[in-house]
């Protein structure tokens, strides 16, 4: 193909073949043994460690790092997996800079935390590459639990339940299991099909049956699941995407960022994916950053993230923002879209500058336009098709600390439920904790 970054419109093949391989390779490869030893040596083995407190899954971080430092990385991996069965994925995608590594006392001491995330990956990758599974299933209990959604919450819940000896049926709407791990994360964070490898590894516990392509409310009803199982866990995520609600949203080449990200993850050949020359991403979270950076990696000439509030309010971490800007993405804050222009396909997005006032966000009269032949919407996802009878709050299923919904026998966790932070790691924590409560309830 003869396209370049300067070719107008939304076209594939803007880069040379080798550039795609380089751009979508593992962004932060596994540490080598010596690198890990040196990184591990920096851990102070704190008392009541702040990093562990900051971890939504409460991994005993000083212990696993000491296990690495003493030459037993497999033991370190078991320490991690005991708390977080998706410790492998979390090592890759956790915003550690706002969790464990922010809490690390080395951050306070010298602005340079122990590389907890990379050490976690060092340990978990090592164990996952081996045959077998670190946990064994308890004797079958004869109990059956339905898990809806094979994302981080559902799979963490299923694994813990299976470990306790229950039979778990997992129903998932997508063709492949993994949820956002498989469809919703930037490709360079989860290179080499890690999400599927992780699911396969997790299933080695036994006792879990996956049913793909089964959607709650379509192929299966909640009432039937309640009738045929001893408990139900809902980890359905947020399938809906918020709209901009401005004129021109229907123009061609205006897309949901999550669809673009999913398409990238499923693409065998990145050069076949079309991308605009001038790309505008609207939103301020991880999804916006993942879409924007990957648009650049596909060869877009200009990529601009536009966020309606101030930079400090972006839910993408400082680390993510730096990653975006160092990838050539421009970030504009305090501007909201008022219209998308074009005939047939989008050509421009019109924004108004905003003022964040105590009463709310106010659009000013000052506007500007950005050239755009492709626009990605990344202003949040929403729960759709929540079963009747479940109490909702701010668009999420209300759960208590143990994951119980307002309906007896139904638990929920992950992005669809209240209490999390829409992170893989919080979803895992909620799924795990719900499983413990389910186990206590049905045993």
């Amino acid at each position: 193909m003869s396209n370049t970054s300067l070719t107008p419109g939304v076209v594939p093949g803007r880069l040379a073949a080798e550039a795609y391989a380089r751009n979508f390779a593992d962004a932060a490869p596994r540490l080598g043994r010596h690198e890990a030893m040196v990184a591990a040596d920096r851990c102070y083995f704190c008392f009541d460690a702040p990093c562990t407190t900051a971890c939504p899954t409460s991994i005993d971080i000083p212990l696993f790092i000491r296990q690495i430092a003493t030459g037993t990385p497999d033991a370190a991996a078991k320490t991690i997996f005991a708390q977080n069965i998706m410790g492998g994925m979390c090592a890759r995608v956790c915003p550690t800079e706002t969790l464990c590594e922010e809490a690390c006392v080395r951050e306070a001491a010298e602005g340079k935390p122990v590389e907890i995330g990379r050490l976690q990956r060092y340990a978990t990758d090592g164990l996952m590459a081996q045959a077998g599974h670190p946990f064994t299933r308890a004797a079958a209990t004869g109990k059956s639990v339905a898990v809806v959604g094979a994302g981080p919450a559902g799979l963490a819940c299923a694994h813990r339940l299976a470990m306790k000896g229950h039979a778990v049926q997992v129903y998932d709407a997508r063709p492949k299991p993994g949820g956002l791990n498989e469809y919703g994360l930037a490709t360079y964070k989860t290179a080499d099909d890690f999400a599927q490898a992780e699911v396969d590894w997790l299933l080695r516990i036994g006792g879990i049956t996956l049913h793909q392509g089964v959607s709650l409310g379509r192929e299966v009803a909640l009432a039937d699941l309640r009738a045929s199982h001893d408990a139900v866990f809902l980890g359905v995520g947020l399938a809906g995407v918020n709209g901009l609600r401005v004129p021109g949203e229907d123009l061609k080449n205006v897309r949901n960022a999550v669809d673009f990200i999913a398409e990238l993850r499923q693409a065998g050949d990145y050069s076949s994916l079309p991308v605009g020359r001038d790309v505008v991403v609207i939103g301020g979270g991880m999804t916006a950053v993942d879409a924007a950076v990957q648009a650049r990696l596909l060869g877009a000439e200009t990529v601009t993230i536009v966020y309606r509030r101030g930079q400090e309010k972006m839910s993408a971490s400082g680390y993510e923002q730096n990653h975006a800007t160092s990838s050539g993405v421009r970030i504009i804050c305090n501007a909201a879209p008022v219209a998308l222009h074009g005939t047939g396909a989008v050509t421009e997005v019109e924004f108004a500058h905003t003022v964040d006032e105590p009463g709310g966000l106010r659009l000013t009269d000052q506007t500007f336009r950005l050239a755009a032949d492709q626009v990605f919407k990344a202003i949040g996802q929403s729960l759709v098709g929540a079963p009747e009878g479940l109490a909702l709050q701010a668009g999420k299923i209300v759960v208590d600390a143990a994951g119980r919904t307002t309906l007896p026998g139904i638990w929920a966790g992950g992005d669809c439920a209240t209490g999390g932070e829409d992170l893989t790691v919080t979803a895992v924590a909620q799924g795990r904790d719900a499983a413990e409560d389910i186990h206590a309830s049905i045993s």
């Binding site: 040196v38 102070y44 008392f47 460690a49």
Partner: protein
Amino acid sequence: MANLASTFIGIKSPNPFWLASAPPTDKAYNVERAFEAGWGGVVWKTLGLDGPPVVNVSGPRYGAIWGADRRLLGLNNIELITDRPLQVNLDEIKAVKRKWRDRALVISLMVPCDEESWKGILARIEDTEADGVELNFGCPHGMAERGMGSAVGQVPEYIEMVTRWVKQHSRMPCIVKLTPNISDIRKPAEAAKRGGADAVSLINTINSITSVNLDDFAPEPMIDGKGTHGGYCGPAVKPIALNMVAEIARHPATRGLPISGIGGVSTWRDAAEFMALGAGNVQVCTAVMTYGFKIVSEMISGLSDYMDRKGFASVDDLVGRAVPNVTDWQFLNLNYVTKAQIDQTSCIKCGRCHIACEDTSHQAIAVSPERVFTVKDEDCVACNLCVDVCPVENCITMVPLAKGSVDPRTGRRVGDYGNWTTHPNNPSVAAE
């Protein structure tokens, strides 16, 4: 730039940094490189009897322990004395000395424990114009099994006898190198002095096994499935060496006997510490085997800056300066009371002080829900463990209580100097 010139038992060198008798000083090539780098002197690797050359193992001769970044903390070796022909060494020593007149060149010797052997070797080296001899009574491996090295150094009577022979058959200054593999370092030092030694040097290496191979179940370094104890050296042995140097420096029978300090000297600061405890100069080996000869540049600049800061006109101003402050436990002031104090602004809240004190000491550091760590003066015995485990330098300090103030732990006022010899709890005091 301070004046670092050193005169040790009459031997002059431009600085007090010598290389110890060891692999780095086995031949002219190395020694000349050391002199080019700036080393003040060398003790040539130990010469033995003329005859069939010494045979070394051809498997690994060094073992080590490391910090996490492979920082070498301790080294052990099973290498023997020089395995090159005697005459080759003598010719090289003579040539090197002629070329480097301003540097100290001392020859280390080890021959069997009979007068003729010593007389013979001394005659052979007379012609080299070397500045002195060092008697290797220290090496703990290999040669000791043949009645030499530490086998001599462990018997004070032998030390005295051999030293006497050496002084009788040679006009050269004589340094006796001591083994630390004994129970009381003062005894061999006394013996060396009685025999007429001009100085002692210490420590030689310590008997050691650095590690065990947990798959082959043998000590490292492993030679065809077997291992043997080797001589331990490097930064890890420095505290042991410092104590032994101080013991000799303050012992009435050996006080004033010149000492060449050896044992884990790696930096200018290590050297200064040895000298403050009474060493007239220092000898270095492991540090150069780890980093090469260039480290002497740092040692020279570091000691010079320190001496300038202190206003020392010569290294002699430093030598022995700390000796009067080395004492026995019984003379320590039991009425000196300090309390740990945590500087909250530099505290990084790791909690190591708390858990160390809570689990293993006196439960004297409290932690608040906000992770503020504070010392409970009523429980603090001032053990210093919190200071030692704190990763932030000077975050925790020991603050002395003023005389007359009340120690909240004991309820007693801080009094004047008082030690164990007069303490009421001392049974021997009560008996009087």
